[in-house]
């Protein structure tokens, strides 16, 4: 069922984020907004699949861009720090499986696949970082522009 294929992973991402809000002491409405961001970011990742020809680095990049924009927007609406929304909502995008597979290849002495998975995991982290970077730099430029106009 195509609908469930898209909906279920996003729902799982939402539930997982909701769980991880607790150790970071995120409460109430903030927790829901933040988890919603995690679920939606995964939806963006899935949608970006067909659009980018299933190039997963680009998928991660667009998901990170969406999530940063979402968090910056929510932070301004609710007048709360951006971190509160970014921290946990990013978890579904973090390449945890990559770290594990790397370790398993290393354990089996499969150096070639260990190195290639390692590079891939690092590139995913890089793609996420660049996504965050683009949005937060643009936001900084925008606030600087607005401040200058006001003076």
């Amino acid at each position: 069922m195509p609908f469930l294929d898209w909906f279920l992973p996003c729902f799982y991402a939402f539930a997982a984020c909701l769980g991880f809000c607790v150790p970071f002491n995120i409460r109430g409405l903030g927790a829901v907004i933040c988890s919603l961001g995690g679920g939606l970011a995964w939806l963006v990742y899935l949608i970006a699949g067909p659009l980018t020809g299933y190039h997963d680095l680009m998928q991660y990049f667009w998901a990170a861009v969406f999530l940063s924009a979402y968090s910056e927007g929510m932070a301004r609406v609710r007048k709360c720090p951006v971190t509160g929304y970014m921290l946990v909502a990013f978890l579904p995008l973090v390449p945890g499986a990559g770290i594990y597979n790397m370790m398993e290849y290393a354990l089996n002495g499969d150096t070639e696949r260990f190195l290639s998975t390692g590079m891939h995991t690092l590139s995913i982290a890089g793609a996420l970082a660049v996504g965050v970077l683009v949005v937060s730099s643009l936001m900084r430029m925008y606030t600087a522009l607005r401040r200058r106009r006001r003076i």
Partner: protein
Amino acid sequence: MDYDKLLTLSGELGYHLLLSGAEIYRVEESVRYLLQAYGVGPGEVFAIPNCIIVGISSPGQKPLTRMRRVGPHGTNVRKIEALNALCRRLCAETPDLDQAWEALQTAAADQTYFSTPQQLSAYFLGTAAFCLFFGGTLADAAASGLCGVAIGVSLIFMSRLGTNLFFKTIAGGFVSALAAVVLVALGLGTHINLIIIGAIMALAPGVVITNFMRDIMAGDMLSGLSKFAEALLTGAGIALGTGLALSLARMLGGAA
């Protein structure tokens, strides 16, 4: 104006923000705005993840500096939000320094935190959902949730002992992989790799990846690099811990 009091107030605000895990630029900006709001010209503030230095100099006064060392700390978003709101209020109203000090003390003393059972059930929910997310079955998810609880217990226990981050991560990975091996041997869940992947998300350095890039973009290279190192160390710690447990299980002829 009592500069000593103002310096103590702003230094303490920065200290508590850092202690709650706020980004570096937020700490520096908050302190700078506070000093400006109280009419102290060029206030200087420098913060890295474990230290903050605030200095003020005004005409006809000796320059004053205050430094606070910040110990190991986690992230408490609720406190960051409260302190941020307090800083906005102080900047807008600039109340008497004694009153401001009282308000800061109340905000900093707030120890509202989820109880241990609540936290452990949250670890269960989070890791179980991640296992499903990565394609595990319901039985896998239950096993993964239990491994997540094991991680939660070990994290909470070791935080009380003040263990360092690297060792905490290794031990968390070790405990979760060991629990996964035992659970699969007992017949709960079949895909041991998915169970472990779900569980180690509780340790994954997601927080750090997002924060270090924001720090670097704000021009705080030093903080960004130290957080980058933290992310790499955490990743290595997870791999080391789980690898240790799995190879141990193989040595003993276990499931994995």
